[in-house]
């Protein structure tokens, strides 16, 4: 069965997922990876900001925020 890839923003708050691939610029990908968001990492979408953007995720025990624009290019599969 092939797993269906979703973008990180398409998750609903409270859902956990596994990071699969990045379609980001190398700089942005590097920073996300250095902060612990790597392919195979489990993340949880914690919430959307009051105005819908940015989003807050939980990764490796801490909370990180990033914009929809970047999150759209981070592909995940449901955990």
């Amino acid at each position: 069965m092939t797993e269906q890839l979703l973008s990180l923003v398409s998750l609903t708050a409270g859902t956990a997922a596994i990071i699969r691939e990045f379609n980001l610029s190398l700089d942005n990908q590097r920073r996300l990876m250095e902060l612990g968001v790597l392919a195979g990492t489990r993340v949880e979408l914690v919430r959307f900001a009051p105005l819908g953007d940015p989003i807050e995720i939980r990764v490796r025990g801490y909370n990180l925020t990033l914009r929809r624009q970047e999150a759209e290019r981070v592909m995940v599969s449901l955990a």
Partner: protein, 745 residues
């Protein structure tokens, strides 16, 4: 390099770690109150340096606090400085003798990532495992001994905010500094790298190796091979042969399908995960910490905004309300000092210089200290509790509408205190373009130096009438000025982002640290440093300007002026002696004498250097309804805005010399007493608003110009900024003055 000779400087201990790991609190605990806050040469990255407490005076140890960083592949100026210090690339900083790596026990994997990078550099190392309490709250028990064994370096568990573990850390530092220090030069992820990568790194390291080098050659080879910026940032450090070699190796890897940029990141996290699993025991399945629960409210769609607005309102309300009493006391103190010192000195130029120039001038600035302290107290609290990041999270969408970054919010908020820390705070913004836009607009936000100007003009000119039964016009005017600045800043940001500095909207990747109880020590330190910075400015630059201004307002003295007025007074005085003391005629003569005094003083001022400068710009500001006396205030304000207040006090005291013996009229009263040549009041509400609008927009601050020059490394941007803000100021004041007249004010 002079590394072969014995070191002449005290041993250097470097403090490094991720942002929000409690590094600042730890630094304060290690060095006490005597740390020096300065800058690295050429950039406005804050350099905090202090002496380690609890060591003998004759064997000092220097502690240097590096800016917080997530990795040695920098994304911001702050991180670049941290990397360059650790790689011993800054000539002003010696090679570290010991590195204290501050780790966040509650976020161990991410801390271990950076830890791995720093350990490889080969310096003697001590790990300060901070935030043990937060980890416990999260249901995680970190075993410091297991970690120490695994890493091969001493690990000191700590709760720096409660000063737990500080003594142990201090002794660990001293132990590790004792010769011979044991370096830990081993690449921790070596086993994770493929044989081919290992070979290339080894061979490049062979080229880098040199006697007495501070940093492990293997670590440096690995970094410059896998980080495109490590080489590009410091081209001059590496000879062509090295650069050629790096390029060749990368090409080979690319052909072989190896992603050299991301190669080490995965390996490091594999190692970090493994170590974490070994040393952390989950003691309880904590679904939600109190910080998570708090966040549900603080970042709530509805309550989040209410809380945000409430905090901002509370902040400004208390700045105006609670500062009043200490400000009144300071004013009274300064007045008393002026009178007391005045009595000791014989009348004359020296008397005038000391009381009107030095005491009144510096005093007019120092009285704003309470407001500045309160403002920095709030900013310090917001930062230390972790709310600042939430504010950026809430505001980001709004800020991105004008092309800015949630992180631009923090410099903007700081700029309500002073544009200089605000501009300094922009260094956390990764994109150079966004950083520049933020720098260009933050001085539009009303800083605390404008507050004296607003306060004075509002007190003098805005009638205290209730509005809608709830508000009062003076307070509302003040709020309006702040909003005008905010609006202008947002509009200008949008204009710059869509014209001059067009570019991709920036990336926002920001940690939301857990909330914590603010540490009194850290917050106090923050307020103290900023207050001292302000006082130093008041004590040096502003005091100097005041003395200069006093001189310009007093000299040159027309030699014939005194005798000429004396000749006019003589007949009046004689006439007064002939009439009865309290008759109407005597009153008339007194009034004529007083008018004569005023005219003499006015003429004196007109002849002085300041008067001439004011007259010179009068044609420029006449369309704004301003006269040359205000011109003097404006000119002196270009040094620093708050000087307006002290200048006006000098200008009008010079103007009202005869009255000053009776009682020192408050400056606001003397503003109200000023008349235009046609007899109408000078300072009408409309005039005050036009002047305040001018002050909202104009970049009247030499220090800001200097900081912007240093930050942007060119005169182009500060000059551009000065010109665009000047144009806004003139235009704004003109529109207010014209529209006000047209509306019949």
């Amino acid at each position: 390099m002079a590394d072969t000779s014995p070191p002449t400087h005290p041993p250097l201990v470097i403090l490094t770690g991720n942002p929000n790991c409690g590094k600042t609190t730890l630094f304060n605990a290690l060095t006490g109150l005597r740390a020096k806050v300065g800058n690295y040469t050429g950039v406005t990255v804050e350099k905090k340096e202090g002496r380690l407490l609890g060591v003998p005076k004759n064997e000092p140890i220097t502690v240097l606090d590096l800016p917080g960083t997530y990795s040695l592949s920098p994304q911001s100026l702050d991180e670049r400085i941290a990397r360059d210090v650790l790689f011993h690339r800054l000539p002003e900083i010696a090679a570290p003798d010991l590195v204290v790596l501050v780790m966040d026990a509650s976020s161990l994997e991410r801390s271990l990532y950076y830890c791995g990078q720093v350990m490889e550099l080969g310096y003697p190392l001590v790990v300060a495992l901070n935030m043990m309490d937060v980890a416990t709250d999260m249901g995680q028990q970190v075993d410091p001994e297991a970690l120490a064994k695994r890493l091969g370096v001493p690990v000191v568990p700590m709760v720096a905010s409660h000063s737990d573990g500080v003594t142990q850390l201090r002794s660990a530092i001293l132990r590790q500094l004792k010769p011979p220090p044991r370096p830990v030069a081993e690449v921790g992820i070596w086993q994770e790298l493929s044989p081919d990568v290992q070979r290339e790194v080894h061979s490049l390291a062979g080229f880098l190796a040199a006697p007495n080098r501070a940093v492990s050659a293997t670590a440096e080879a690995l970094l410059i091979l896998t980080d495109e910026k490590a080489l590009a940032d410091n081209v001059t450090l590496y000879p062509d042969t090295i650069r050629q070699r790096v390029a060749n190796v990368r090409q080979c890897w690319e052909t072989a399908g190896v992603d050299w940029r991301l190669l080490t990141i995965e390996a490091r996290y594999r190692r970090a995960s493994a170590i974490r699993d070994e040393v952390v025991r989950e003691t309880a399945a904590v679904e939600q910490t109190w910080s998570d629960r708090l966040d549900r409210v603080v970042t709530h769609k509805f309550w989040g905004f209410i809380i945000f607005v409430a905090i901002m309102a509370l902040m400004f309300e208390s700045i105006f309300r609670f500062a009043r009493l200490p400000m009144d006391l300071l004013t009274a103190g300064v007045d008393w000092l002026g009178l007391a010192v005045g009595r000791l000195l014989p009348p004359g130029d020296l008397h005038s210089l000391i009381t009107d120039g030095v005491i009144a001038g510096a005093g007019a600035v120092v009285v704003f200290l309470p407001q500045i302290c309160l403002l920095f107290l709030f900013i310090g609290l917001l930062e230390d509790t972790g709310y600042m990041a939430r504010a950026a999270f809430i505001m980001d969408r709004f800020m991105s509408k004008v092309g800015l970054h949630g992180k631009s919010f923090i410099p903007m908020l700081s700029s309500f205190a002073c544009a200089i820390p605000g501009i300094m705070a922009t260094r956390t913004i990764e994109s150079a373009r966004d950083r520049l836009v933020t720098i260009l607009i933050v001085p539009l936000l009303s800083c605390s130096a404008r507050l004296p100007v607003y306060t004075l003009l509002i007190a003098a000119c805005i009638p205290n009438v209730p509005v809608l039964g709830l508000f009062e016009l003076p307070g509302l005017t003040m709020v309006a000025m702040y909003f005008l600045g905010i609006l202008a800043a947002l509009i200008m940001a949008w204009i710059f982002k869509s014209t001059l500095l067009k570019g991709e909207p920036p990336m926002l990747i920001m940690e939301l640290p857990p909330y914590k109880r603010p540490s009194a020590n850290t917050v106090f330190r923050h307020v103290w440093d900023r207050a001292m910075m302000f006082l130093r400015r008041a004590g040096t630059v502003i005091l100097g300007i005041n003395i200069l201004l006093w001189f310009f307002a007093t000299y040159p003295r027309g030699a014939d002026l005194g005798p000429r007025y004396e000749a006019l007074r003589q007949p009046l005085r004689q006439a007064r002696q002939t009439v009865e003391a309290k008759s109407t005629r005597a009153g008339e003569i007194e009034a004529q004498l007083a008018a004569l005094d005023r005219r003499e003083n006015s003429e004196k001022l007109q002849n002085s250097f300041a008067g001439r400068a004011g007259r010179l710009i009068e044609p420029l500001i006449a369309p704004l309804g301003m006269d040359w006396k205000i011109g003097i205030g404006l000119i002196s304000s270009f040094a620093a805005r708050e000087v307006f207040v002290s200048t006006m006090s000098i200008v009008y005291q010079v103007d009202n010399n005869s009255d000053s013996q009776e009682h020192t009229a408050s400056l606001a009263e003397s503003l109200r007493a000023q008349r235009r040549p046609d007899g109408t009041p000078m300072y009408t509400p409309l005039m005050a608003v036009a002047l305040m609008v001018f002050y909202v927009f104009a970049l009247q601050c030499v220090s800001t110009v200097a900081v912007v020059r240093r930050e942007t490394n060119s005169w182009k941007w500060p000059l551009f900024q000065w010109a665009y803000m000047g144009a806004l100021a003139w235009g704004g004041a003109y529109v207010v003055w014209r529209a006000g007249h047209w509306l019949g004010y």
